[in-house]
């Protein structure tokens, strides 16, 4: 996804957009294509994230759309005061590019995990929040980002993310994408949970449980219309996120389900309000939190069996 981001950024430059990329000294080798071809559009501000946001605000006042890159926790937690005062309230076009949101930097330890970022980003007035689940979503959303009037939090996973879109189907900014439209059970996921949701769907299919699959790449503004449609058409709704269960996409969706008097089953999968104590690979940590497709499929089956 980071490679897609870099290619999309280069496309923005080449289509004449007034864009600039700041990094707080992270992204080893990732930005070489930008730095080599367009050195004027790239600045490493050093390990000074709070300053990076202020610099971006100043540049944005002068008409530049600025992308601020670091890994997720450094780009949103360390900088939050600058983000709310200098970007959100001033409604400046600055995009926070958060690499490895969730548990991507698993073995690096909790300092490098971001399991509260979506909750915080969504709570910021004027902030658009995006979490693409595959390179196609990343590419499409990058084209829309440039039209935003205010700041945006772009949560990226790692690299080598599988493609989730078949044929000519393409995601649309602000709309939940339906990747599999049949069935009475709706699986809603985003980011790196999207391929896991797809695997869970395939596993359940073997047991003749047909599930729909939705990608929630635009977290704010939230597509109320599609969620209400799902509530109307499905009897079981499940959300999956690599995020704290508190105030993630599950919480956001259940608020809408409540407002439209949904009476069906609901379950959210995520991280149960705890930081990692023991470390392991990304897969190990996901297993630890019950975020693998087998466990999720098992739990969904159990949920469906409940009277």
């Amino acid at each position: 996804m980071r490679t897609t981001f870099v290619n999309s950024f280069i496309q923005l430059i080449e289509s004449g957009q007034n864009v600039h990329l700041l990094t707080a000294d992270l992204g080893f080798k990732v930005f070489d294509p930008i730095r080599d071809r367009y050195p004027d559009r790239f600045t490493n501000v050093g390990v000074a994230e709070a300053n990076m946001i202020g610099i971006a605000a100043g540049m944005a006042i002068r008409g530049i759309t600025v992308f601020c890159y670091s890994i997720a926790p450094f780009v949103i937690f360390r900088t939050l005061d600058q983000i709310r005062a200098d970007l959100c309230h001033m409604q400046l076009p600055v995009i926070l590019v958060a690499a490895g949101g969730g548990l991507h930097y698993a073995m690096e330890g909790m300092t490098h995990h971001a399991i509260e970022d979506i909750a915080i980003a969504r709570a910021l007035p004027a902030m658009t929040v995006l979490a693409p689940g595959d390179p196609i979503e990343c590419e499409v959303l990058m084209k829309e980002i440039i039209n935003l009037k205010g700041p945006c939090y772009l949560r990226l996973g790692g690299n080598n993310n599988p493609l989730m879109y078949e044929n000519s189907q393409r995601p649309k900014f602000g709309e939940i994408s339906c990747l599999q439209p049949d069935g009475d059970v709706a699986l809603i996921a985003n980011g790196e949970m999207l391929p896991i949701a797809k695997k869970a769907m395939e596993l359940l299919k073997k047991e003749e449980i047909i599930c729909r699959l939705y990608s929630l790449h635009t977290l704010k503004p939230l597509d109320h219309h599609t969620i209400k449609k799902i509530a109307h058409e499905c009897s079981c709704i499940v959300t999956m996120e690599e995020h704290n269960l508190i105030n993630g996409i599950g919480t956001a969706i259940i608020e809408i389900l409540f407002s439209c008097s949904y009476r069906g089953k609901f379950r959210k999968f995520g991280i149960s309000d705890e930081y990692a104590k023991e470390l392991g690979s990304k897969e190990w940590l996901r297993n630890h939190y019950g975020l693998n497709h087998e466990k999720i499929a098992f739990e969904i089956k159990r949920l469906l069996d409940e009277q």
Partner: protein, 269 residues
């Protein structure tokens, strides 16, 4: 600067202090002491230094990083025709756009949100960096406080500005040596400001921050080489009213009743 001009600005500084007293007394709110220490700095900027006006994109911009002293800025903007009297008089009342810290509204001269210390210089450095890249003549002036000097992000921005040779960026440090809970030297000793800014790679000028002539002259070296400029303006918190000077009480307190009349009288001489 001619003697007559100097006298005119001294009178104007007094009038601004009276404006500050008036609008703060009316609502019994605001930071009078910190506003009084920065009056001449803001006045000299708008009277002698700043070029261009909103909506010119290449105008110079002033960012008051010590946002709590905003009444001095509001009054100056009003006296220089950038902010209507009718708006100024709404200061700190229900429904007003003018609170105790400035909200971004460039059309009335408020070039950034400030109030959370340590933000102003980063934004200013971003403006200067962009102007530099855009080959614009626009310059940026950031007014800092002792409190700002506690904040780590101020020094991140100071390093950035020197590294990128932002000769179009100037800070004026309103060094009244006090902050919210006491004297800066007792809270977080900054060393010598002059040494600190020099060591960060800035040109440094130390002046009396209430001397109109000295302040004006201190900008003469601005932009002459590849370094940003730091003007360390030694000031007095509460300057202009004897009983308010160098007193922590007047960081927060607004003069009332007889105090108000005494303060006005002192400023009318």
């Amino acid at each position: 600067m001619k003697y007559e001009k100097q006298q005119e600005l001294i009178r104007l500084a007094n009038d601004i202090r009276k404006d500050i007293l008036r609008i703060c007394e009316k609502t019994n709110t605001g930071h009078v002491g910190p506003a009084f220490s920065v009056v001449e700095i803001i006045l000299v900027l708008y009277s002698e230094i700043v070029r261009g006006r909103y909506p010119e994109p290449d105008r110079d911009r002033v960012i008051l990083s010590k946002g709590h002293a905003c009444t001095a800025l509001y009054s100056t903007l009003n006296r220089f025709g950038m902010m209507e009297e009718s708006l100024l008089s709404t200061f700190a009342t229900n429904g007003s756009r003018l609170g105790h810290h400035p909200h971004y509204e460039p059309s009335i001269g408020l070039e950034a949100n400030t109030g959370s210390l340590g933000h102003g210089l980063s934004i200013g450095a971003g403006l200067a960096y962009a102007a530099h890249k855009q080959k614009s003549t626009a310059r940026t002036f950031v007014i800092l406080s002792d409190g700002d000097s506690n904040e780590g992000s101020t020094w991140e921005a100071a390093a950035f500005a020197a590294h990128h040779r932002l000769s179009n960026l100037c800070i004026i440090l309103d060094a009244n040596k006090m902050q919210a809970l006491g004297f800066t030297k007792d809270i977080l000793w900054p060393g010598e400001y002059e040494d600190r800014w020099k060591s960060f790679g800035w040109n440094v000028k130390v002046v009396d921050g209430h001397d109109i002539n000295q302040l004006t002259k201190s900008f003469s070296r601005f932009g002459i080489d590849s370094k940003p400029l730091a003007i360390i303006a030694n000031t007095v918190k509460g300057k202009g009213v004897g009983f308010m000077e160098n007193s922590l009480l007047w960081h927060y307190r607004v003069p009332k009743g007889q105090e108000y009349l005494d303060a006005l009288r002192e400023l009318s001489i």
